[in-house]
């Protein structure tokens, strides 16, 4: 299907490239995701237009679409990571939230300043600040502000990598014993682990503690392994001021940590000049959120690329075989334990990264956040089941449908109802609501639904899940023919010249 092939075979019809594009489209790569997102955007633009509005309508729509995209991207990353475990390999990891938590707190340990501004707040290692300070010294030829910023970004990157390694390491420790056993043990171990992690983070014992107590020694006047105070903040939570939104905000503000205290940059002036003015009328925070959302979309693309790369390779083929029948893979000479551990570690690291990007963006977290609850794991599973386990495109679409339609949709719906239907006091119980419904007045029931929508959407999620499992157990895009190979496996006509095999067809990326 590549250009080279067309050149080689003169009789190849001109319809080949066109069919290639159609195939790609139908097989659902970027096109299918784009169409889904477009439909979701149209739906939410309409819902926004129908709902209560503050400010210009274009601005409301844009800001809502930004929020929808943000949630879609956050879910998509985690669903993709889970797809690597469950969809590709059949590893039943129901501790996703735990691995996210490891990523989040490891990142916090790395980035929280050594002397936090809030009194009594837990200290961290302050790595980005250290990098920033070092950079100003190491890069004297640069503007000190720029050098310090570059150092900060490098420090954030290092912290992210370390946090991913931490999540991967915890994954390995979990996986090594559990993967030797039957498949269901992994489920038990992972769900237990995620609860242990969450409860440990809540425990007062770790609110502040000292790393390396009594390990310090002096050699040649230099102190090694000094005591390092760190902490989780336990139930009081932890400030994460140096989070991945900072570099994004720095594009717009000279003082990204506290925009009000600084100035806007030239880029900021330009972008805000356009987007805060009519017809958009966006708020500045919405604009920087939008920028962060675009960065997240980039991360989703990177996750997707990595997974396709893993899936379309001999490594991915073995994963698929493990999912189908591990004994067969074994009997064909594949040391499946090694494959399972590797893929488990990679998936956990990705979950850690997803956790960081998800949770730290508000600059604060505590263990009661839904992000670290078992519920989070189940949301991600539901999104994957809807989209179709095993399919990357399905993972992204499942994430989008779950985040937008199932999770945000009901809220929009209730806002619209609130706007258009005058409701005095909603009934307190569903019984009351139904009783009045019997008297042929739908308003009380509607009022009950609307006032309890954030709870009732769980029922919607449940109903959708049951429907999907009953009627389409493989999800929207499961069962797709994604060939697990790095080259096309279709028969190459054995040529007289023999030049065809040279490039082995199109790389599957």
């Amino acid at each position: 299907m590549s250009g080279a092939d067309d050149d080689g075979t003169s009789d190849a019809g001109s319809d080949v490239p066109a069919r290639g594009i159609l195939d790609r489209f139908r097989d659902g790569d970027a096109g299918l995701i784009a169409v889904t997102m477009l439909l979701i955007y149209v739906l939410f633009a309409i819902l926004t237009a129908l709902g209560p509005s503050e400010g210009p309508i274009v601005g409301s729509i844009l800001s809502n679409l930004q929020a929808i995209t943000l949630w879609t991207a956050l879910y998509a990353m985690l669903v993709l990571a889970l797809n690597l475990h469950w969809g590709y390999t059949g590893l039943f990891n129901i501790g996703v939230a735990g691995f996210m938590a490891i990523g989040i707190y490891a990142y916090a340990f790395m980035t929280v300043p050594k002397d936090p501004s809030r009194p009594g707040a837990p200290p961290g290692l302050g790595v980005p600040q250290g990098f920033a300070d070092a950079a100003t010294g190491l890069l004297p030829f640069l503007d000190p502000g720029l050098a310090s910023f570059l150092g900060l970004v490098a420090g954030i990157a290092v912290a992210i990598v370390v946090a991913m390694l931490a999540a991967g390491l915890v994954g390995a420790i979990t996986a090594l014993p559990a993967l030797r056993l039957r498949a269901d043990y992994l489920a038990i171990v992972t769900v237990a682990l995620s609860e242990i992690i969450r409860l440990s983070l809540l425990s007062r014992e770790m609110e502040t503690f000292t790393l390396g107590t009594n390990l310090n020694f002096e050699l040649g006047g230099i102190e090694f392994l000094p005591d390092v105070p760190v902490g989780t903040g336990a139930g009081r939570g932890i400030d994460i001021p140096i989070n991945p939104t900072i570099p994004v905000k720095r594009v717009f503000y000279t003082n990204p940590g506290n925009p009000a205290a600084g100035d806007t940059t030239a880029v900021g002036d330009l972008v805000f000049g356009v987007l805060t003015a009519p017809p958009f009328g966006l708020r500045e925070t919405t604009v920087s959120n939008l920028a962060y959302t675009l960065v997240l979309v980039g991360f989703v693309a990177a996750f997707y690329w990595l997974l396709v790369r893993i899936g379309n390779s001999p490594f991915g083929r073995v994963l698929k075989a493990i999912r189908e029948d591990e004994i067969v893979a074994n009997s064909l000479g594949k040391d499946t334990r090694v494959f399972k551990v590797k893929v488990f570690v990679v998936g956990c690291a990705l979950m850690g990264l997803g956790g960081i990007l998800w949770e730290t963006r508000t600059g604060f977290t505590d263990p009661t956040s839904t992000t670290m609850m078992p519920l989070q794991t189940f949301y991600i599973f539901i999104a994957l089941i809807i989209g179709g386990a095993g399919s990357n495109t399905g993972s992204v679409i499942g994430g989008a449908l779950f985040a937008a339609v199932l999770f945000q949709g009901p809220l929009y719906f209730s806002r619209i109802v609130n706007k258009w239907i005058a409701i005095d006091t909603p009934p307190q119980t569903s019984h009351g609501a139904l009783a009045e419904f019997a008297s042929l007045d739908p308003t009380p029931l509607l009022a009950y639904v609307v006032s309890n929508v954030s709870w009732l959407r769980f029922i919607i999620v449940g109903v959708v899940l049951i429907y999907v499992i009953q009627n389409r157990p493989t999800g929207l895009l499961g069962h797709r023919k994604e060939e697990a190979a790095s080259v096309s496996l279709s028969r190459r006509d054995r040529p007289s010249g023999g030049a065809v095999a040279a490039d082995g067809g199109e790389d599957r990326e």
């Binding site: 083929r317 698929k320 004994i327 074994n330 064909l332 000479g333 060939e483 080259v487 496996l489 095999a501």
Partner: protein, 325 residues
């Protein structure tokens, strides 16, 4: 030299195999482990002809028993218990290199369990398994397969949601792309693709050999029972094994397909020198196609020898043929 010979075997058969052995000993051109081991054994045997007769002789015998040159597989005193049940109870037999050996016995005789113990699916509770001169007792399944001993299952285990092409692409040994870094890193992926492109041709050839190439893009789960058997055999072959253990490869296969399978097996044996050990119910089939037959009963080997002899063996007739035929 022949210490593993069965007392039941007629002298003529023994002579025949001896001749074969002497041919095989000249085989170090192959240059792999087992022949090297065989030469070592031969040397030891040579050294054993010194005056210290009695003990030395037994030592020679010992050495010869460990690595006779022409044996692919030696199973000695294999035991496997499930709870109190002895599924395999001290089974011993050998399979000669390049032979088509049949393993028969009534249901529950322990044939599949023997296969499972040889290939590491089960850990044997006793006994040894030697493959091409190397002790592989207790090896894990992938280690056994990577030494060139591959098996199929009594109930075909196709990888349902993988296409036939993917099924076959899975099997070859030494795929660089099975390393995660090679699969993912941009610089390293070129070699993965080259290797896979080479494999694709072999995959198609193998599919054609088994006449299932028209189903290549089909998911394996959509195949009929007989086609699954063909797929399993084709897939195992992609591993380029030196010996195959086939557990009831003809069960549920229609007669014309059975013929086809048997043709392939003979072809592989004759052209590539593959060794086959086949579990099969159909006595006539085994008697007609195998040069050597092993009869199992209640976890032990009841008799072993050429088909004609097995047919006459009273104990086999009593234990097996008597109530089955």
């Amino acid at each position: 030299m022949r210490t593993v010979s069965d007392p039941d075997r007629p002298a003529a058969a023994d002579g025949g195999t001896d001749a074969e052995e002497s041919v095989d000993v000249e085989d170090p051109a192959d240059g792999d482990g087992p022949t090297a081991g065989a030469t070592g054994a031969a040397e030891e045997a040579g050294g054993g002809t010194d005056p210290a007769a009695g003990t030395a002789d037994s030592a020679t015998e010992e050495a010869a028993r460990e690595t006779p040159p022409s044996l692919s597989l030696q199973v000695d005193g294999l035991e496997k218990y499930f709870g109190g049940l002895a599924a395999v109870d001290g089974a011993s037999f050998v399979v000669e290199e390049g032979s088509l050996t049949g393993l028969i016995g009534p249901n529950g005789a322990g044939k599949s369990t023997t296969f499972n113990c040889i290939t590491g699916v089960h850990e044997p509770d006793g006994g040894t398994v030697v493959f091409e001169g190397q002790d592989i007792t207790g090896f894990r399944p992938h280690e056994v397969a990577n030494r060139g001993l591959v098996r199929t299952f009594q109930i075909a285990r196709e990888l349902e949601e993988m296409t036939l092409l993917e099924n076959l692409m899975l099997a070859p040994r030494g795929q660089v792309g099975e390393k995660l870094t090679s699969a993912v890193m941009p610089g390293l992926r070129g070699r993965v693709r080259e290797q896979e492109a080479d494999m694709v041709d072999r995959v198609w050839e193998t599919l054609e050999l088994f006449e299932i190439d028209h189903l290549a893009e089909e998911h394996a789960g959509n195949l009929s029972g007989g086609q699954r058997k063909l797929l399993e055999l084709a897939r195992a072959l992609m591993l380029e094994p030196s010996m195959m253990l086939l557990d009831e490869p003809f069960a549920g296969v229609n007669p014309s397909l059975e013929e086809k399978l048997l043709d392939r097996i003979h072809q592989l044996k004759d052209e590539q020198g593959l060794t086959f050990l086949i579990v099969e119910h159909d006595m006539d089939l085994i008697m007609k196609h195998c040069e050597h037959v092993i009869v199992m009963h209640q976890g032990t080997v009841l008799a072993e020898g050429p088909p004609a002899e097995i047919r006459e063996n009273e104990r086999v007739i009593d234990a097996y043929l008597g109530d089955e035929v």
